[in-house]
Symmetry: C2
Subunit: 126 residues, 2 copies
Amino acid sequence: MAERSRAERLARRLQELQMSTLDVEAAAIVSVDGLTIASSLPAGIEEDRVAAMSAAMLSLGERIASELGRGVLDEVYVKGESGYVVLRAVGEEAVLTVLARQQTKLGLLFLDMRRASKALAAVLEV
Amino acid sequence: MAERSRAERLARRLQELQMSTLDVEAAAIVSVDGLTIASSLPAGIEEDRVAAMSAAMLSLGERIASELGRGVLDEVYVKGESGYVVLRAVGEEAVLTVLARQQTKLGLLFLDMRRASKALAAVLEV
């Protein structure tokens, strides 16, 4: 029952993030080994694919930040011609991944993600 | 002789990018297979390491942009607690990688990198 409500709290927080701006298409929390913890994805976006890609990007991002003297990883973003994938660490065990449309205001998205990441980390650590 | 002057033009354009803002620490153009084409790196930053990391990030960034429906890759950035690594495609065969300090104004850096990337692509395609 406690687990159920924790999963619900995570999912609810992801939905809030998704609804905070019209330009967020999908949001998920993924464990560092690539398994989905909670997600709020529209039809047509596969949960497993988001999880696998997030874990791979987190791992390479951490390696690059460290090898090129940028310190501990904070955020990774990938911009394609039709939108963004943004990742941010949630505590030490998970990553928050957001898919956003091309017209997204990045500054606002980063701000929302930083807040969400703190809130999600607090739920995960309970 | 023509090759020599082309390499010089690439290196000069990288230096211009590096000097355009005080916050750019290093800049390099790397082939998609991870070999350095030209670079402007301070002592203490290894060329081979930058090249290998850039190619790995470009390849994963392209895969993620495509698998998660973001279209053709445009830019990747990694933010660590002590600064940024930003990558941008230069034509189809190369990537421009910049290491920047933490206080960098990202909007300005992206603008400078887009311009540099076009200029570098023009030199590479000659």
